[in-house]
Symmetry: C2
């Protein structure tokens, strides 16, 4: 009935519009809206930004666990799964940092298209890079989450010992020490990780998603 | 209770092992197994390979639609969503083609880690490139699906008019014409798209997934 015949493929070709020449599968493509209906929540990108040690990883994974417990489909993109794989060919030069963030943005878009709530945890210190990612997404898809913590506190925490090494001159272009961090001008969310608890910060993000209608109280499957 | 204190972060740091210095979030990480349990099916990569016009796009999207109708979480990576986004910086030189496939493999791994069944639709003509992706994944995660169709039939179909342009010398290094296609030696699946219908090919893939226990007959939610 649906044999891969020349006639059929030619018919498909006839429906080409503009530069889009790969139209065959379009007719049977699963849409983002259909995926979101199956998932019972919307796709979205929560872009965590902030200094090293400001809580991006802790909070993005904390939010993910809370959302997962509510039955949501989520994924965290961070240095651990991106720098060692997809972006293993990139270093820390200015050019490579820009490319690093660009690729993360593109992968986030794929995950959103698949209907997932994506959480990214990268310092992403430059406004221009974050703006490029925001502009590449549809209105409302990019939620900038600023993990606010002073350099002093981050350096005091020094979870990975990176600040000590940066002060010793062992790490060039280290954000906050020898390279600037450009504070978000209009982030959708500011999490004050210096004064608030992890749980409180996580709750703020989840409440935001509820208010925006990204998730609903029905997403309480009690998976944990 | 779970405040982001220096003491807590220092404790986390103390659990570092080897080169893994980013241990804080690890304790609260959602695992692939947990995601697969939520999805009620396993993550996997179905790697479609074959000549241009051999049916990779049609079949990968056809399989996806069938799986989606069964309530599975899936995503297709193809030229349409990868070449124009993530890999928009890549051309068609040998080096760029290798990098194209490498990145697709890495993104497929991220999607699998998120618990999805990933379907990739790239000519991916070289054994070495496909082998690199296979080797980068865990045993059983990479399923090579060879879309078998003779050059003659693919060229006769010429859905995108690419063969005509390649014959006219307008497209250099075109697989099958001026660049080799290395037939898979040990593909997990061979779909004969020259003699079998689209529906029959799709059924073969779904049956394979059922036999392997990737999906189960319980995945019949009747979403369509």
């Amino acid at each position: 009935m649906t044999q891969l015949t020349n006639a059929q493929l030619t018919n498909a070709q006839l429906t080409n519009v503009g530069k889009s020449t790969n139209i065959v599968w379009h007719q049977s493509n699963v849409t983002r809206a259909q995926r979101e209906r199956l998932n019972q929540h919307k796709g979205l990108t929560l872009w965590f930004t902030g200094l090293s040690g400001s809580g991006k990883s802790t909070l993005s994974h904390g939010v993910e666990r809370r959302l997962f417990a509510m039955g949501c489909r989520t994924y965290v993109l961070d240095g651990d799964n991106v720098r060692h794989g997809l972006n293993s060919d990139l270093g820390f030069s200015d050019k490579d940092r820009v490319e690093n963030i660009r690729r993360v943005g593109e992968v986030a878009k794929l995950f959103m298209d698949a209907g997932l709530i994506v959480l990214t945890a990268f310092i992403s210190p430059f406004r221009s890079d974050r703006r490029l990612v925001r502009q590449s997404m549809a209105e409302g898809d990019f939620i900038e989450v600023y993990c606010k913590s002073s350099l002093e506190v981050c350096e005091q925490r020094d979870v990975k010992g990176l600040y000590r090494r940066a002060r010793a001159g062992e790490i060039p272009n280290f954000t906050g020490i020898s390279s600037p961090y450009e504070v978000p001008e209009y982030p959708e969310l500011i999490l004050n990780t210096e004064t608030e608890s992890v749980e409180s910060c996580i709750t703020q993000v989840v409440d935001f998603l509820l208010q925006r209608g990204v998730i609903s109280m029905d997403n309480r499957f009690g998976q944990e």
